[in-house]
């Protein structure tokens, strides 16, 4: 058994509550729950963390990583770079080592001797004989494997100063009522802790110190939050087809419905969930339920949207409420199914043949996944059209600190314009596609409403305002132009953009959306600290409201920051708002990893330099 510490040539990175730890594991080895335990323990000590799972499209045997950014200032974006690598996967050893910052740390399993050539000189190496420790203590091979992960959590707790009681409490919560599982886990943790205290005193320059920087915030995955939004927003029908990274959303909807939506008296369900045979059937079920007056949604990712497009066109033209939650991943084709991107804007905004346009909502975090999912069900009923909630893998499948979910009990559902039996009986004129209010939104009736009035035939073919089949040009124009008017109405109903102004007047602006939010917030602060004046606008929906036009008009140049190759939001701004392309400068990050503040700052400064702009602070320095 050999525990060793080998100092590197570069000075040790010293940091308190501000560093990045990355765990390199083999998937299916039970590392996920140990790593999550570690992340949660820091939160319980009041220190914000943002963990990210970087996983393969595979169940067992391939490399997987868990990256934890610790940051007491609350910056939750991926930082980039690694201060401490817990290298548990020989397959990725070389690339994992290469990622460590000079002066950073490597923790590895030293049970088997490794040649010196396998290491780097400029990093500090901590060898822990994890396999040997477990082999000595446990006899069952499965236990040896699983508990190895808990042992390294114990070693880390000792080195970083994580309070052991916090971990013990978390393990107690995790294995509540399962004493048989709790005891070996506690034992393994303590073994690691003692080992760490004994052999690695002051081996690490990274420390965790208790703070009160988490506050009331909750720690939840965007998919779970979106599922809760659908429960609270009144969705009763969910149809879906398994696809990464959206499956856990449908599964969370099932879980929360089983808890919150079962009729107490009868024990029966106030919801219906169908795992359909494909995405075409999923959207078909949602269209049928929406047509019949139930709130319905489907959840999918890019390839699923591709399959759904014919139905999306029908729902647009026949004016049927539909909610589609797109948890975006890397495309095209199967692309990077377990990596994140914002690359489905165009395919969703203009999904289907013919002239179509759809409403898109861009949540920034789990809290907005909840808010926007609930809102999308109201918007779908109000606008009688498909509504897309455009989340992504980074928000959807990672636990993220965010404001607690909130609901106002005085809120009721907006069911939109549904003509009732009484109104029909009273002789109110019903034209299914008649614009009576001037907002482009007609009234609808639900099947079975009235014995002799209000029935109509729904179709994807042209019709007159009274839903009678017609191939006449003027009737067609009446419909498609009314749909444009409806889209105009949507501008005021969707979530409005969020403006953040620099301390002084700024010539430059930046537009961003969705999961770019935490990286942009961090970049804003860092640029501001350097004296770089940059206003930012977080776009939260398409169609774009007038505030977006104003923001662009007020700045000489606007950076449009996106996580896709083709600058899709920029294209939409140019085409829909008629903006001069020269004024919209794309900043694009699309390698499948979440965008970082480092990347944004670097890209913005480079472009500013190219435009001969110096930070105000720097100019002042020269003048003095």
């Amino acid at each position: 058994m050999t525990s060793n510490v080998k100092a590197g040539t570069a000075p040790r990175i010293q940091a308190v509550n501000d560093f990045v730890i990355k765990f390199a594991n083999v998937n299916g080895s039970g590392s996920a729950s140990a790593n999550e335990l570690f992340a949660r323990s820091l939160l319980r000590m009041g220190v914000p963390v943002s963990p990210r799972n970087i996983f393969p499209s595979n169940i067992q045997g391939l490399p997987t990583w868990y990256e934890v950014r610790v940051n007491e200032h609350g910056y939750l974006a991926r930082r980039g770079g690694v201060d401490l690598m817990v290298a548990m996967n020989p397959q990725t050893w070389a690339s994992d080592l290469a990622e460590i910052e000079p002066g950073g740390y490597l923790l590895y399993d030293s049970s088997k001797p490794m040649p010196a050539s396998k290491f780097r000189d400029d990093i500090h190496v901590l060898g822990v004989p994890l396999t040997d420790l477990c082999a000595t203590r446990y006899t069952d091979p499965r236990e040896r494997q699983l508990l190895k992960n808990i042992v390294y959590v114990g070693v880390l707790a000792a080195m970083l100063g994580v309070e052991p009681e916090v971990i013990a409490t978390l393990l107690g919560e995790q294995y509540k009522g399962k004493t048989k599982l709790l005891q070996p886990n506690l034992d393994a943790f303590m073994m690691g802790l003692h080992h760490g205290n004994e052999y690695f005193d002051d081996a690490l320059g990274l420390r965790i110190e208790r703070r009160d920087a988490v506050g009331q915030r909750i720690f939840i995955e965007g998919n779970a939050a979106a599922a809760l939004g659908c429960v609270y927003g009144g969705a009763t029908v969910c149809a879906w087809y398994p696809i990464t990274p959206s499956s856990s959303l449908a599964e969370a909807f099932q879980k929360y419905c089983s808890k919150l939506r079962v009729d107490k008296e009868s024990g029966r369900n106030k919801f219906a969930i169908v795992q359909a045979e494909d995405e075409i059937a999923s959207i078909g079920i949602v269209v049928g339920a929406g047509w019949n007056g139930a709130r319905a949604f489907t959840t999918t990712s890019g390839p699923g949207v591709s399959l759904m497009t014919e139905f999306i066109g029908l729902a647009y033209f026949a004016e049927i409420p539909v909610t589609i939650i797109n948890v975006q991943r890397g495309g095209p084709s199967t692309g990077m199914p377990t990596r994140t991107q914002q690359a489905d804007l165009l395919s969703c905004a203009y999904a289907s043949h013919g002239d179509t346009k759809h409403v898109l909502l861009f949540p920034e975090d789990p809290r907005e996944c909840f808010d926007f999912s609930a809102a999308s069900l109201d918007l779908a009923d109000r606008l009688q059209t498909p509504i897309f909630v455009m989340t992504d893998l980074d928000i959807g499948m990672n636990h993220r600190l965010c404001e607690p979910l909130a609901w106002d009990d005085s809120r009721t559902y907006d069911r939109g314009k549904v003509m009732t039996a009484d109104e029909l009986e009273a002789g109110k004129d019903f034209g299914r596609y008649l614009d009576v209010d001037g907002d482009g939104i007609p009234y609808r009736t639900l099947p079975g409403t009235h014995p002799s009035k209000g029935a109509y035939f729904t179709r994807g073919t042209t019709r007159d305002p009274y839903a009678r089949y017609s191939e006449a040009g003027p009737e067609y124009l009446y419909n498609v132009e009314r749909l444009l008017k409806k889209f105009e109405t949507a501008k005021e109903l969707v979530p409005q953009p969020v403006l953040r102004k620099a301390a002084r007047e700024a010539r430059f602006g930046a537009i961003f959306y969705g999961s770019t939010s935490p990286a942009m917030a961090e970049a804003f602060d860092a640029l501001q600290a350097q004296g770089v004046q940059l206003d930012t606008l977080r776009v939260r929906a398409f169609p774009f409201s007038a505030a977006v036009d104003r923001f662009i008009a007020e700045h000489e140049t606007v950076f449009v920051i996106e996580q896709n190759r083709d600058a899709q939001l920029r294209m939409m701004l140019i085409n829909e708002q008629g903006i001069d392309p020269a004024r919209l400068m794309p900043i694009l990050h699309y390698d499948g990893t979440p965008i970082t503040a480092r990347f944004i700052i670097g890209a913005i400064l480079q472009r500013m330099r190219a435009a001969n702009v110096e930070p105000i602070a720097a100019r002042q320095g020269k003048a003095a």
Partner: protein, 351 residues
Amino acid sequence: MTYLAKPRLHHPTLPHNKLGFTRRDYEGKISTLCAGCGHDSISAALVQACWELDIEPHRVAKLSGIGCSSKTPDYFLGASHGFNTVHGRMPSVLTGANLANRELLYLGVSGDGDSASIGLGQFAHAMRRGVNMTYIVENNGVYGLTKGQFSATADQGSKSKKGAVNSDTAIDLVAMALQLGASYVGRSFSGDKEQLVPLIKGAISHRGAALIDVISPCVAFNNHPGSTKSYDYVRAHNEAVNRLDFMPRRDAITAAYAPGEVIEVTQHDGSVLRLRKLAEGYDPGDRLAAMSHIAQHEARGEILTGLLYVNAAADDLHGHLRTVDRALNRLGHQELCPGAAALAAINAELV
């Protein structure tokens, strides 16, 4: 003018059903299909069946895909909501509509191209889920609306109007439905209203997935010698296993038959299907025997018609999903929203 309204003049002597409706109240717009089309006879049979069952027309939802058959829901039950959906995808839309409101009757109308070609997957999955519906395939073995291409139910060796011979094996939707777990399966012929009307009535009263495959000759593109879906061919090769009498729950059962010739099946709503047996030893309650019987007759070139299989004890998708009795679309925010207190409790667990 691309649609034809039907004159609303009613003949004073038309008989009324128990709700006071005449058959006219169950009609729709004037059909725009070709004169003599089998599909119009099926529409007429649907009108007759709904009228005889005393169904309130607005309590029916009619859904269809795309094609000649899928146009027909506009030509019957004008007081019902209808939905002409996407080619081959009616089953999913009907499933969703049914989930939203279990209190209506769902009528799915499709064709052989719609259900056996582009929509075979959706057809199969709706059957295996046991969606409570009457699913009618108006089967003419040909694409009528695009002028005469073979469909997937066209028999191997049959000839198109232009003389092309179909070399592909035919898909038998009845055999598939049996294999997939449909709980009411029948086949009929658009020219045999006497058989078709009670078959439809039985299907509407059935709880679960009910399929009726109706051979419906296409007078424009598939009614020539060499076709196996022509009026002449079907009349010559029709082999009925039984004759169905449908008795709603309210009617006293008076007809008498010799024992051994009649099978009575009581459905969940109390209605009785009385089957006068025509084929020796045929038992419509035996799914495996039904599958074998169909296969044997198909091999002989005979088209087996009648009620081929029924499981009156079947449950439907709502039963499988354990949904509440009340229609989901009538639940309001009080019933659906768990409220702020429950959310606060969830938040408390998320740290």
